[in-house]
């Protein structure tokens, strides 16, 4: 595929122009946070940021979305329409860890038997432009421990690397090549640019100091569902759900109906295994009675069950759950502690 270079000061303008032609989700400053949002007329993306507060999963799997609408008739309630369809779009400025999360989410939503129509339509029509981490954004980054790399192109249609004085832009898919054309006339990348990227890539990997034995704990997890260790990790947990909402790979959702006078809509919204309601049954029975069982579920889902089903850990090492947990529960420490048992 194509390899081009973009002048350092030209990139923001190119993306701004692209946003005039099609929806572009990109990192933007929003009060104290950097968030993925649709660029509005004349807006430029942020290029100098660590990582966004929210994971970009909301572009394909919004926090809340209308699935279908219904209306009341004399004979009951009938389907008024299904809310389907998505425009071609660009998701710009995704960090490699977050780009990788889409490959993991695809396992769930692009299941051979049941395709999730809503997720898949947006996913198919959206090109992902990754902004490689020439410096790991945070001390909580641990992508290299769970199968990722700070300069990885996995999951990307285009990958951009900041070489200091210019960006190297590489298209990896047909979808990426088509978007790269829209970037305008760009010079071909020279050998110096490619060599520089390689150098930065090796340096960046070494800068990730947070290393956890993510792949090593599976045998222990397989054998220790009832281990007393599970009594030790959840005690300070407030069940706030921040970890699951910010997690790029958490995909659990709820389906609820909204009622208005003449009809309403069926809505899908993010849900969290940290809540007791998540598994509460009408009979009163709940298979996960305390925060202990819920925490065990969260950890086992990511490091055991997902591995059993899809041969990959459902964690990309972005570190958001570590950074934003209000009581400082650190999944890196839990995994490390398990590896010592």
């Amino acid at each position: 595929m194509e390899k081009k270079v973009i002048k350092k000061d030209a990139l923001a303008g190119i993306v701004k122009k692209l946003a005039g032609q099609m929806p572009v989700y990109a990192p933007v400053q929003d009060q104290d946070n950097v968030l993925f949002k649709i660029l509005e007329q004349g807006m430029e993306p942020m290029l100098d940021f660590g990582n966004t507060r929210n994971a970009p999963k909301n572009c394909f799997f919004p926090q809340a979305e209308t699935m279908l609408k219904y209306f009341r008739t004399e004979r009951g309630r009938e389907l008024a329409g299904v809310v389907e369809g998505a425009p071609e779009a660009v998701l710009f400025g995704v960090r490699p860890c977050d780009a990788r999360s889409f490959i993991l989410l695809d396992y769930v939503f692009d299941d051979p038997k049941y395709k999730d129509t809503y997720y898949m339509e947006r996913r198919r029509k959206t090109a992902i432009v990754t902004l490689a981490c020439v410096h790991p954004p945070s001390t909580t980054c641990f992508c290299t421990s769970v199968g990722g790399h700070p300069m990885s192109s996995e999951g990307a249609d285009i990958v951009l690397a900041d070489l200091g004085d210019r960006y190297l832009a590489e298209s990896l898919t047909d979808k990426g090549a088509a978007i790269l054309k829209k970037f305008g006339d760009l010079a071909n990348a020279d050998d110096a640019a490619l060599a520089k990227k390689k150098e930065l890539s090796e340096k960046s990997e070494k800068e990730i100091k947070s290393i956890i034995p993510g792949n090593d704990i599976k045998p222990w997890l397989d054998a220790n569902f009832d281990n007393p260790f599970w009594d030790t990790i959840h005690k300070s947990c407030l069940a706030c759900g921040t970890c699951t909402y910010l997690c790029p790979t958490c995909h659990c959702f709820d389906i609820t109906d909204e009622v208005k006078r003449d009809g309403g809509r069926r809505i899908r919204s993010w849900d969290s295994c940290m809540s007791w309601l998540f598994t509460q049954e009408t009979s009163g029975h709940n298979p996960r009675t305390s925060q202990k069982e819920r925490w065990r579920q969260r950890l086992l889902h990511k490091f055991r069950y997902f591995v059993d089903n899809y041969h990959a850990i459902a964690c990309v090492g972005c570190g958001r759950c570590v950074q934003y947990c209000p009581v400082n529960i650190d999944i890196r420490k839990i995994v490390t502690d398990i590896s010592k048992l």
Partner: protein, 280 residues
Amino acid sequence: MHTNPYVPIPVEVAKIITEVTTKDIKTFRFAFINKEDEENFNYLPGQFAELSIFGKGESPIGIASSPTQKGYLEFTVQRAGTVTSELHSMEEGTLMGVRGPLGNTWPIEYLKGKNIVVVGGGFAFTTLRSLINYMIHDDNRSQFGNITVVYGAREPGLLIYKDELALWEKRTDLALNVTVDKGDADWKGREGFVPAVCKDVAPSSENAVAVICGPPIMIRFTLPVFFDLGFSKDNIYTSLEMRMKCGIGKCGRCNVGHKYVCKDGPVFSLAELDKLTKEY
């Protein structure tokens, strides 16, 4: 037909049967609005569907009719939560939705050529009824060996499918054992708990498979009876229930270990359950 798995198939409530004296368990017969949907709804006993009422939500319920009964679907539903209460207040002719068929089936191919013991308790008899009607259908009966049924309820008024039980009673190709925990003045049948009746009936484990559904307390005391009779864990099947939303393995709440009850179940052998985490 929608390829979107979240869009319910439109159906009409064609018939409602109040099954029990407490009136909180009813069987709903649904007729398809579109012929095409009816033709595409291919299911086997053991599967379930999401009963979908716009404005209320969805509830996963086992299919109580057999695929040999053409033209309609039946579900036997206890009034419990929001959706099932709305369903119970419905009248014949009301329009609603069904999303399915979902989940796996009783292991029909494995059951063929074997003697089948069906054990049900309370109103957890719905997909078992589907299985029995499937097996005793003229097209299928010769493919199965002896069929023994043990079905129990707390009292006579709580037995479901009474008309059908009377028909089965008359058959010579099915050994039906109906029991109640405690009978009333009119009750002429068996009294006793399901595990005790199973012990008494003592079906042979020779080339046999037991299919067991009921409240946890019944299952707990029935399993040792079958182990004593020589049934291996590979030859005892049951069906699990969990809170569900999507029914297609995506919303993440009905897992037992790495299996989703909605997609990988609800039917599991005891041998399969032994390999999963004990969280249900």
